[in-house]
């Protein structure tokens, strides 16, 4: 490995190590920070690559921040670069979570700790609902998508099946619905039309796939 490449890999690690803890709320909250650090400050990517990166990170399974790190690391320095970037973005939050957990174990018998956590539970439900609403704005735009979403909720509430099957079911349902639409000659639209803005800040729907 050349010295230059080794330095690049270390830089990737450092850059993502800094990005990791700076964003609460995870995922899309990280994108503007990644954009500033990677595109503006370091010039590692241009806008076209950024847009590609965001569409891939949002579509692939996994957290969008981790995916973005893997993609940028891979583009810059191959598999070692991807690994360095992913470890860089994961390590700080990993340590923070362990620290929180240790505090929790120290104080969890305390009455007020339980009360605080129960309060936080209410806030987390609100954050989940908001994420669901934002995701729905992107993904539910016709009758079949609305039916698929509602049936997913009903099936999960009524039957004790593993949610993992729902992912497979979704892929299958999408292919079947589109095929049926094609047969009966309905117009086919697989994505909500998105008005593309030129400003980089514009691609920040909370959930994107």
């Amino acid at each position: 490995m050349s010295n230059e490449r080794r330095r690049l890999i270390i830089d990737l690690f450092k850059a993502f190590f800094q990005i990791g803890p700076s964003t609460f709320g995870g995922g899309y909250a990280m994108l503007p920070v990644i954009e500033r650090e990677i595109m503006v400050k370091r010039g590692w990517m241009d806008e076209k690559e950024m847009a590609d990166m965001i569409s891939l990170s949002g579509s692939a399974p996994g957290g969008v921040g981790v995916n973005a790190a893997a993609f940028i690391g891979y583009r810059k320095a191959g598999v070692p670069g991807a690994a360095a970037a992913v470890i860089g973005i994961t390590l700080p939050t990993f340590l923070i979570v362990i620290l929180l957990s240790v505090f929790y174990l120290m104080f969890h018998d305390h009455e007020k700790t339980q009360a605080a956590l129960q309060g936080i539970q209410g806030a987390v439900i609100a954050l989940i609902l908001l994420a669901a609403y934002r995701m729905a704005k992107q993904s539910v735009f016709d009758i079949s998508t609305a039916v698929m979403m509602a049936s997913a909720v009903i099936i999960l509430v009524v039957f004790p099946i593993s949610p993992i099957y729902m992912i497979g079911f979704g892929i299958l349902a999408g292919i079947v619905f589109i095929q049926i639409k094609r047969w009966i000659g309905l117009s086919i639209q697989t994505e909500k039309e998105i008005v593309v803005n030129a400003t980089p800040q514009s691609y920040s729907p909370e959930y994107y796939i």
Binding site: G26, G62, T90, L100, A116, G119, I120, A152, G174, V176
Partner: protein
């Protein structure tokens, strides 16, 4: 145990479309299958995960690993849930841009998106109200509902930062419960 943690979160990692909140029901299902945590413990774990920066799914994995088998468990679970991202991105980095306009790929995502939305809705329902088996009207469930409603208002109307929201909710919890 370490291997089991790693493999379980590896499996979850491969299907964690939608990133954060959609993955919570998946994790909860596996956790109760193995009997790693009780429902109450799981709920406080997710609440704790919400306090830290980074993806809530990864944080939850770290916490579950730590709780069941210490620091090594935390590493095994975190590596398990992160590794698929790395593998998939490296594999797709070139391929994806060739297939993303393919009609089969587009059809798949057409179905996948609303289902993932359904998973997130279910996560909110389950995490909030169905987790304990029965929906009971108690002081604590009413209190949680009030905090949840106020949080939504603060998030949407006043664009409150999630970290400040979490801190405010913790304070509200101490006052209410």
């Amino acid at each position: 145990m370490l291997l089991q943690l790693f493999l379980t979160f590896l499996k979850i990692g491969f299907v964690s479309f939608g990133g954060g909140y959609a993955v919570i029901p998946l994790i909860q299902f596996e956790v109760s299958e193995y009997g790693w945590l009780s429902n109450d413990e799981f709920q406080s774990t997710v609440a704790l995960a919400g306090m830290a920066p980074g993806p809530i799914a990864t944080n939850t994995a770290t916490l579950i690993g730590f709780k069941t088998s210490g620091a090594a468990g935390a590493m095994a679970a975190t590596a398990g849930i992160v590794l698929p991202s790395l593998l998939i991105i490296v594999t797709l980095a070139t391929l994806f841009f060739r297939v993303r306009h393919n009609s089969l790929v587009r059809s798949s995502f057409y179905g996948l998106r609303p289902i993932v939305t359904g998973l997130i809705v279910y996560a909110a329902l389950h995490f909030g109200f169905l987790g304990n088996g029965e929906v009971a009207v108690t002081w604590s469930s009413i209190g949680t509902l009030i905090i949840c409603g106020l949080s939504l208002l603060l998030l949407i109307r006043y664009k409150l930062h999630p970290l400040l929201l979490i801190l405010a909710a913790a304070a509200a919890g101490i006052v209410l419960f």
